[in-house]
């Protein structure tokens, strides 16, 4: 099909706007403008597609756009900031599903294609389908629908066999093109199951990396299907996202000190009994915590998933403001994988109104814990566990951590005595300079605020 020049031009403009938008999003000051620019790119690309002469099913198309678009628009408006990771996962999965479906229609039509086109269609279909079901599992886990990591016996063998079957069926589709409907159906069934099986055993702590990986997958799938359709806008958008997502995944995996292969194929377990932890956990009252921080000169706050679950970010910022008015220097220290998505904590703090120049990365702030009077840890656990530095047998050994243990005093707000997401005991909680404040982060911060106000 030869396309009119205004359609091609509009797609070109769309692709250019995507790149400008993404570039804008890479700096906090221009980020908002970036997404709006990319949004115009999308509108232009979609509108131009409607103008292609000879397209059928236009009413169906409009209906599908309205249904899918409005459902996602409304759910996206409603979702709480805390639940953002799983929303990103599910929208991403839908993109993967769409890419796989495009390939399915292409195969069903059975038009003759060059070898390269068929191969790319099959690869795009495979990774799109895996991203679709895998992202659905990731959503279910983060949403709490699926509570546990399910591991099959010989999980890795099952993964490999399924992957080989999927590749085998894909290969058959290339060789026998145009493929029989049974073969097409079998290929998609296996690919969809593969996404499920691969993702089910992965624990919640690793989900950020997995979501990012599936994001890259969907990007690649879209890029490959773009080639099949002969649409450069899809190729550019898909491959740019594929490359960016791959890099982003690597950055995250590096922050956790776990190679991606490790995250996908190895359960997080201790490689030995681990070093014995001596000492005991010592409790503290909200009043003492308030006094400790009120008369400190420097406080570093380390937020974690516990703050997110408790929706405590607004209270935490209120507390911070009171402390700052009293002349205390307060900084926020964010571990790259705190929460359930990289930068998850930054988003929550930004929601509460914390200016981003008070928020510091691991590398920027780690040297400052030594000069801090108080490190306040709110619902974070593994990211401040000193075992990661010292205990070779620990499953999180080698992960860069925030050196909260080097502060004069450590206060930990925590719901109970349990372990973190990795299931590892935290040696920090047993040290002499550490005090525990048991309770939900929001009421606890509220109590501290009351005491701070009483102190004036």
């Amino acid at each position: 099909m030869t396309l009119p020049v205004y359609v091609q031009g509009a797609w070109f403009l769309g692709a250019a706007l995507f790149i400008f938008g993404l570039k804008g999003m890479s700096s906090p000051a221009s980020a908002r403008k970036g997404i709006v620019v990319a949004g115009y790119g999308m509108l232009v690309a979609i509108a131009a597609t409607f103008l292609i002469p000879g397209l059928q099913n236009l009413a169906l198309m409009a209906l599908a756009l309205a249904l899918g678009g409005s459902a996602a628009w409304i759910s996206g408006k409603k979702v709480k900031m805390t639940d953002m990771p799983q929303m990103v996962a599910i929208y991403n999965g839908m993109g993967g599903g769409a890419a796989a479906a495009i390939a399915a229609i292409e195969f069903a039509k059975g038009d003759a294609h060059s070898l390269a086109t068929t191969v790319l269609a099959v690869i795009g279909a495979l990774i799109g389908a895996v991203s679709f079901t895998g992202s659905c599992v990731a959503w279910a886990k983060l949403q709490g629908v699926l509570k546990k990591a399910h591991r099959l016996p010989a999980q890795n063998a099952v993964n490999v066999v399924l992957a080989l079957i999927a590749i085998g069926l894909g290969g058959a589709m290339v060789l026998m093109a145009p493929a029989q409907p049974e073969l097409i159906f079998g290929f998609f069934a296996v690919a969809l199951v593969l996404g499920l099986i691969v993702t089910l055993p992965i624990g919640g702590a690793d989900m950020p990396v997995v979501i990012s990986l599936f994001n890259a997958f969907t990007g690649l799938a879209v890029g490959f299907e773009g080639y099949v359709l002969g649409n450069p806008a899809l190729i550019i958008a898909g491959i740019v996202v594929g490359a960016a997502g791959t890099l982003l995944t690597q950055l995250m995996a590096k922050a956790m000190n776990r190679p991606i292969s490790n995250i996908l194929f190895t359960p997080m377990v201790a490689s030995g009994p681990g070093e014995a932890i001596s000492g005991s956990m010592k409790e503290l009252s909200a009043l003492d915590a308030a006094a400790m921080m009120r008369y400190a000169s420097k406080v570093i706050i380390v937020p974690g998933y516990g703050m997110a679950v408790a929706h405590a970010q607004h209270k935490v910022w209120e507390m911070t403001s009171i402390l700052e008015e009293a002349g205390v220097e307060v900084k926020f220290a964010i571990h790259p994988v705190a929460g359930r998505m990289p930068g998850h904590m930054n988003v929550l703090l930004a929601e509460a109104g914390v200016p981003y120049d008070k928020i510091f990365d691991l590398d920027e702030v780690n040297g400052e814990f030594g000069q801090a009077d108080v490190a306040l840890i709110i619902g974070a656990n593994d990211v401040v566990n000193p075992s990661a530095r010292t205990d070779k047998a620990s499953p999180i050994y080698g992960m860069p951590i925030l050196n909260a243990d080097q502060a004069q005093n450590v206060i930990v707000i925590k719901r109970g005595k349990g372990t973190g997401y990795s299931g590892v005991e935290n040696a920090l909680f047993y040290t002499d300079n550490c005090r525990m404040l048991y309770g939900d982060a929001q009421p606890m911060a509220g109590e501290i605020i009351q005491h701070l106000k009483a102190m004036g």
Binding site: G39, M61, A72, V222, A244
Partner: protein, 93 residues
């Protein structure tokens, strides 16, 4: 499309994506993941092309499904990214 030309596009696009992300501060990782998620929502254009040329009811059904999914990817990705980025500001105000 010309196979070799497509290969050039692949190469340049991959390089572009890599370069744009390489210098991004950690605080933007989540919105950026979400933003790039939005951008691959352009798959909806491909889905529209397929639905627009679907011949059989089965193809129409899959095409309808594809367009709805792609539209959800684009719309949802846009809304959540915009909401997150709207919160980033330097000072209170």
């Amino acid at each position: 499309m010309d196979g070799l030309l497509a290969l050039y596009i692949f190469m340049l696009a991959a390089f572009t994506g890599y370069e744009i992300i390489a210098k991004v501060p950690v605080i933007l990782h989540t919105p950026l993941m979400s933003g790039s998620n939005f951008i691959h929502g352009v798959v909806v254009v491909g889905a529209m092309l397929m639905l627009g040329t679907a011949d059989t009811p089965v193809q129409q059904a899959i095409g309808f499904f594809a367009v709805a999914l792609g539209a959800a990817n684009a719309a949802g990705g846009y809304v959540v990214t915009e909401r997150m980025l709207a919160m980033f500001k330097k000072k209170e105000g």
